[in-house]
Structure formats: C-alpha cells, structure tokens
C-alpha cells in the first residue's frame, strides 16, 4: 500500500539535496569545529556558512543566529534566558549593593505576554516561570485563532519584559499579523523611552511552522527573538536556531541556559551538531529559493482538498482562518497569508478524530487529530477550545498538513477515501444518523 504523508506539521521528509549535503559531515568532515587544526576549521566554516544562510533568510546578521537542538530548546532559551537576565544584572559589578538587591527582588515580578494557542514548549515554560514568580498573561484568540494586537497593548504594564506570539499555529495554521504586533510593541517602547524607562519590551516569535512558507523579516516585524527549526522544513531532526538581536547580547539581556564550553558565543554550550547544522542551512537555502513555487503548489493542493471535502461531506466545519479566494493575484505572499499554505483542519460532527485518523491510516494516509482520545491526558486540544469549539467539534477534528512533496494524485485519493470513511463512522455513531444526510 502506498503511504500518503499528510502530517507535515509534525515533521517532514528530508529533502534529498539536504541529505546529500550532510553526508560528508558524517563520514569525512567529522572534526570538531572548536579544534584549531585545519580539519576542525573546515567543519567550522560549514557551520558558519549555514549561519549566514539562515540569517539572510530572515534579514538578520549571522552573528545573531545561535544554533540549538531544536524548537523546544530555542523557545526555552528565549523565555528563560530573557526572564532570568535581570538576575544577571544583579550580578553586574558596576551596580552598587542596593541596586543589586533591588534588581534581584523585582526580577520575578516581571510579566511575559503570550497567547493561549502557543506550542506546549512555550506554554509549559511559561507555567514553570509562573512557579518561579513571574507573571504570565495568556491572551485570548478569536474564532479563527487570531490575536488582536490591541489586546497586547492593553495587557502591557511597566513590568512587561517580553511578548511571545507564535507566528503560525501548528494545529489550525493561523498566521498572526506580526507586523502589526511589532508596531504596537515599538510604540510602547518609544513611550517608555520618553518616560526615561530604560528597559525595552522584547518581541519573540516561534516560527517553526511558518519558516519558508510565509515572509519572516525580523526588521520589518521588529522582532528581537525568533525560534526556528530544521525538521519542519525538510531538514534533519535535532537542530534548530534562535535569532537574538545583537543589542540583547551586548547589553546582557539574555543569559545562557545551558552551561559548558564557550560554543555559540557562550549562549549555548555543547559541541555543534555539525551535520545537522549543515542540513539545516541547506534546507533553508532550498526552501527560500523555491518558496514562491512551493507556496503556490501547497496552496493549490490545500484549496483542492478543502473544497473537495466541503462538497463531499455534510455537517463539517473548517477550523482556522477562512480561505480567501484568488487573494494571491499580484500580491506578495505576506500581504495575503492568513492561513498556512499547507494546513487543513476540519471538525466532523458525530465522529471522533482518532477513529477517523485511525481509519485513514489503514488506507495509508497519515494525519493527526486534536481529539481527547488521542491525548495522554484525554483532554481535547486546548488550541481548538481556545477558539471556541465545543467538545464534540474538538474531538471530531482532523488535521491534514501538506508539503512540497505531496501531489494532486494524493489529494484526489484522499478525496475518494475520506468521505466514505466519515459516512461509515457516522453510520455506527449513536449521534450520526441526523448528520449523515446532506
């Protein structure tokens, strides 16, 4: 049976060009980039080449890119590193003792603003920071999953140190208007400066899902920190990066969270994952070069799937932003994108997502679900419930996430198989009778 992989929000297939680029770093060029010999320098050059490619892709400087083990680590470093940097300041030798004490005392009263629909690695880091005394504000989202930039303005206090907003949501594909949010934060920072408040509010985004699928420009969006990773963009697992604006490093506004050698300018200790970093760089290079083409391809397949499912299956609901028809004509990607080009998420009334996904799996189709039955804690997806879905809708959700490798034939196969499975599961559902009729 042919396998149709439509779970690219979870991870992606490695691009053959990426793998090819990585191979010599397993077998021939295996030296440690920290070694002084030329063999080591060859590895170091490869790491630096990747750093430059990634920096260029988001309009940053290569000295502002720090490699990590992936998205989770980058998010942990961003939040904890910023939160605890004021303790760092209390150790600053230029401060007198009373200033140091004041800094230490007030540090954990600081506030971080985020949303209810972040990835678990942001939410659980925030919960841990709450236990340490930090104040966290979790913003509501509307029914399409959007944060209102004005809600951010209203939530900001003098104690706010960081705003962290996911760029594109992994479950429903909502792409936040980072430009508008960045402007709000820049406004507040200007006002703070006028009032002689020295500390800036920093702006972080988790861009793991959106990278190479929509525009990401750290200057245009006023971003100070950006989380990136490789395995969502046809690169290898176990490697990611954090963009940290130079000013934060220079002023000691972020502290290291993993101690050891002086790798990554002392921000992240540990011998560099050279082959992973090489693969990450290549994945970004390929992804950026073909971005327009890939986005167009995935958007076409996405809309074909969405239209096909809507016309074949009664009583369903598209979760996430509505599709705007022909909105892409003569416009830049970022001007039209409200929903990730590869995300499809439906709620099917009267059936449960794990059984629908399980049945699709039997037919060779890989998907995912926000159903309680699929979760270890037996709770439905917090993202879907934050968007106002009721339990039946959240439990009946199914996500299909595409990649550049998916084809029209695969989409048509899904459209052939899925409506029949839904009908069958509704037939055996005690509440399915009334919803199976078109």
């Amino acid at each position: 049976m042919k396998q149709i992989y439509m779970d690219n929000g979870a991870t992606t297939k490695i691009d053959p060009n990426v793998l090819k680029e990585m191979m010599p770093y397993f077998t021939d060029k295996y030296a440690n980039p920290s070694s002084f010999h030329s063999f080591g320098q060859e590895a170091k050059d490869a790491v630096e080449k990747s750093r430059l490619i990634i920096a260029k892709a988001i309009n940053a400087d290569d000295k502002e890119i720090f490699f990590t083990s992936g998205g989770t680590e980058s998010n942990n470093l961003a939040l904890k590193g910023i939160a605890f940097s004021c303790k760092n300041r209390s150790d600053n030798k230029s401060l007198d003792q009373s200033e140091k004490n004041a800094s230490k005392k007030n540090c954990t009263e600081n506030q971080i603003i985020t949303t209810k629909i972040e990835h678990k690695c942001i939410l659980n880091t925030c919960r841990w920071l709450e236990e340490q005394g930090f104040k966290i504000t979790y913003l509501e989202v509307d029914k399409e999953g959007f944060v209102n930039p004005e809600d951010i303005r209203k939530s900001i206090t003098d104690k706010t140190i960081l705003v962290s907003i996911i760029h594109a949501n992994n479950e429903v594909g909502t792409i936040q208007d980072l430009e508008a949010i960045g402007k709000v934060i820049a406004d507040v920072n200007k006002y703070r400066k006028k009032r002689n408040i020295n500390s800036r509010i920093y702006f972080h985004t988790d861009a793991c899902q959106s990278f190479t699928k929509t525009e990401l420009d750290v200057q245009k969006y006023n971003l100070d920190l950006v989380t990136l990773n490789a395995h969502k963009i046809h690169g290898p697992k176990g490697v990611g990066a954090l963009f940290i604006r130079r000013e934060l490093i220079q002023k000691g506004k972020i502290i290291s969270w993993q101690h050891g050698g002086s790798h990554e300018s002392g921000i992240r200790a540990g011998t560099e994952n050279v082959h992973g970093i090489v693969g990450f760089g290549k994945a970004v290079e390929v992804g950026m070069k073909d971005m327009e083409k890939n986005v167009k391809h995935m958007t076409l397949l996405r809309d074909r799937l969405i239209d096909g499912i809507i016309s074949a299956v009664p009583n369903i609901k598209l979760n996430g932003p509505a599709i705007q028809k022909d909105s892409r004509k003569n416009k830049k990607i970022s001007e039209t994108d409200r929903r990730l080009c590869n995300n499809i998420n439906f709620s099917f009334r009267a059936i449960e997502g794990e059984s629908l996904g399980g049945y699709l799996d039997q037919k060779g189709i890989c998907s995912s679900t926000g159903s309680a039955c699929n979760a270890i804690n037996l709770e439905p997806s917090y993202v879907l419930t934050a968007m106002g879905l009721d339990d039946e809708e959240a439990n009946g959700s199914l996500r299909l996430s595409l990649s550049k490798f998916n084809t029209e034939e695969e989409v048509d196969y899904v459209l052939k198989v899925l409506p029949k499975i839904v009908e069958k599961l509704r037939f055996i559902s005690p509440i399915g009778k009334e919803v199976n009729i078109k």
């Binding site: 009267a350 059984s355 049945y359 039997q362 270890i376 709770e379 055996i428 509440i431 399915g432």
Partner: protein
Amino acid sequence: MLKYSKETMKRFTEPRFAGEMDDANAVGEEGNLKCGDMMRIYLKVEDGVIKDIRFLTYGCVAAIASTDALCEIVKGKTLEEAKKMTWKDVVDNLGEVPPIKYHCSIMGIEALQDAIKNYEDKEKGIAKDSKKQKRPCCYQECCGKTV
C-alpha cells in the same frame, strides 16, 4: 496514534455488530460527547437469553472495537451469564489494548449492564430512570472530569 492489535483494527474497520436494531427489546447507554466516547447497546432478549445484540459507538478505535468484541462475547449468553462479564473479558478478546484505553472496555460493559437493567426494569414494569447519576467520564485518575 496508539499501537493497536491486529484484532482491534480488524474489528474497528469491519465491525460485525454495528448498527441499529429495529426489534430490540432493551437499550442501554454509557458515556457522553465531552468524554469523546458514547456507546449504545441494543438487545433482543428471549427467554432470558440474548438472542441478538447490536451497538452504536461514538469514539476512538478502541471504543468501537471493544463494543464490537463485547457484542460477540455476550451473544447467545443468558442475562445472568452476561452480567458476570467484565472489561477484562473484552480486553482478552481484543488481544493487547493500550492501558490508557482500558476505560473504553469498561464503558462497553457499563452500557451492556445498562441495557440489561433496562430489560429487567421493563419486565418488572418499572419505567426506565432517564436521569443518570453524575460520574467521572473515563474512570481514570488522569481524567477526573465529572459531567
């Protein structure tokens, strides 16, 4: 998705006892939409023996497979024999079931007991109590929701 046994997947994709029953003389139900599991069992009882049984299940792979297995186990049994069935009998029939899905088999048994009670109440001429007691929905410590 969790790793299910072959028998579980077979029962899930090709259930033998799924569907409504027009001439049922008892119906039982367990679960609700919030929990993500809801089961209905139809019985046709003759001379104290379960002559026929059908189910409708809203729920996951394990929920659908375990109600189908349950139906096969109790078909042809007397009501007294059926009452003695436990969720372990259902799990044994399915082969391996991930522990987090044991509650699906428990709910199936509860739905069956509810159907048997419905039959016995009718025999005694007592109207079925439609108001069920509130109880946790998935019989697990990790899910203490009461709905």
